[in-house]
Symmetry: C2
Subunit: 319 residues, 2 copies
């Protein structure tokens, strides 16, 4: 349907071919992986598992999946990709376990990793080494099989979080699959992953939701929404997201999220102190903070827009 | 150069004609007002005042202004529009005062109103009644005369904050001018104005700046900016703004800003408590807050995109 990306990934994609991939949860994330693997000629047959019969029938008619199967049958595919909400994964792992073939690799696309790994470890037990935790950094606001498209993962990052006891060949298989879908692979510990995404995704979502809820609940709420303009629109766009999904992510990653939230609250305490005195040196602190933020934000914008290298922010981090 | 908008505003614009408007600070805000009044045929002559000779010459060559004048000469125009940074306004008021003609109306376009009114009251003294505080809710990221365009204010809101001792005819003149520029007029007290814009603009800016500064200063900053994606991009877009301008706004509106910041910090304290226990009822509180925010944000989006009426958020507010 859609051609895979040219260049390096295409060459790797040509070398990757697998017999069957089972997608559990055939929505935007799962369906797009299926379509991209098919477009790359990397999979012979895609099996679909899901709770909504209508959605699975649509996935069949759109050519996203070739067959609807049970979790028991999915457990014998070469790769089982879990693209359900994170909250459903424990029960999916438990249902897969008794039927899991020794050569089957299980992987997921969840937004949090330590909790999914813990669930996999608990349910898969002696078969845990067959599980590879991963997180594709891609998505749109749309959901369901009809939202899937073959180029969703092109040049997007996929974070792969292997554990010490994860089978090395399983990790390589999952990474090859994502490369075939056009993605760039980044290995990271689950703990680092959860910290990074608490900082750049989960905390911003919480902050945006919190602001809109606060304003909607205020005595002058009607005026607030009447006079809100483009800055507010951009700042609060992520507060339009699914409350259930972000509740699950916030709860699943609550330790890392609370660490970021604590640092942020300390930052706001400092701002409050500076505004309280409004002394020249305190106003200068406000300006200094705004200036550091503006410089970092503009450098990042040039990076994502024009590919300029990011500045080195910290001595401890990697570039 | 550019036609004014058709319809109701055009009819009002036809009835509004003034001899001279002096623009102090011929950038995006001041220059666009000049261009829109010229396009509407509502002004005979626009005088320009500024500190940058190069910018004024560009404004002349672009037909934004007809003549460069001193503040002393500007003080004899029919309307003097102050479009300088808010921090410069006290000295502009002081320089205008000795030369201000009895029929001249002074107005401004600053983002905060109580502080500008206090400065005008202090400097203009017995001529304070000739001053009308106003705030056009429009702008782009660009600055300088070259950024000005005639349609900037079309269908945008202008908040007009008359004081009890403001001359009624002066208010009506300023409102007619903004209508001629295509804007919709909203009257509000300066105190209400500053509260509303603390809530929907100044606090979101502070929050976005604070987050980016916190992340740039973190041990894992390089990873944060490497994996930041589209949600982060939108949430932090306003953190790319001018540190000096937002320092001035934060300081000028610090009382209203601190009130909003205090409420917000209380909200974050609640989130921290809910995440700390992760008890079912606390996770339900998180979901409830996210759900209220998502519903409000989506209703607001339908309002600005499709003109749907906003829901009634509060019993005390106006719809």
């Amino acid at each position: 349907m859609v051609q895979s990306s040219p260049g390096e990934n295409r060459i790797i994609a040509m070398t990757f071919h697998i017999n069957t991939v089972a997608v559990v949860g055939v929505g935007l994330i799962g369906g797009s992986l299926a379509l991209s693997l098919k477009a790359a000629g990397s999979v012979r047959r895609v099996l679909g598992v899901g709770r909504s019969k209508a959605n699975l029938e649509q996935a069949l008619s759109l050519g996203i999946i070739d067959e609807v199967v049970s979790l028991e049958a999915a457990a014998r595919a070469d790769i089982v990709f879990l693209a359900t909400p994170v909250a459903q994964m424990p029960s999916v792992f438990a249902a897969l376990k008794p039927h899991l073939a020794a050569t089957t690799v299980v992987t997921d696309g969840g937004s949090t990793k330590q909790d999914v790994i813990a669930a996999a470890r608990a349910s898969l037990a002696d078969k845990f080494s067959q599980f590879v935790a991963a997180h594709p950094i891609a998505g749109t606001e749309k959901t369901g099989a009809a939202a899937a498209f073959a180029t969703l993962y092109e040049k997007r990052k996929v974070v792969v979080c292997g554990e010490p006891d994860t089978d090395t060949r399983a990790v390589e298989l999952v990474e090859s699959m994502w490369r075939a879908a056009g993605a760039d692979i980044h290995r990271m510990t689950a703990s680092d992953h959860d910290d990074v995404f608490a900082a750049v995704s989960h905390l911003p979502h919480l902050l945006a939701f919190a602001l809109v809820d606060m304003l909607a609940d205020a005595p002058r709420a009607d005026d607030y929404f009447k006079f809100a303009a483009s800055g507010f629109r951009d700042f609060t766009r992520i507060a339009a997201g699914s409350p259930e999904m972000w509740r699950d992510i916030s709860a699943a990653n609550r330790f890392a999220l609370r660490e970021q939230l604590t640092r942020y609250r300390q930052k706001l305490d400092a701002f409050d102190g500076w505004l309280a005195t409004a002394a020249a040196e305190d106003i200068a602190q406000i300006e200094a903070s705004y200036a550091r933020a503006s410089a970092a934000r503009n450098a990042w914008q040039r990076h994502i827009e024009h590919g300029e290298p990011l500045p080195k922010f910290t001595s401890g981090g990697e570039t």
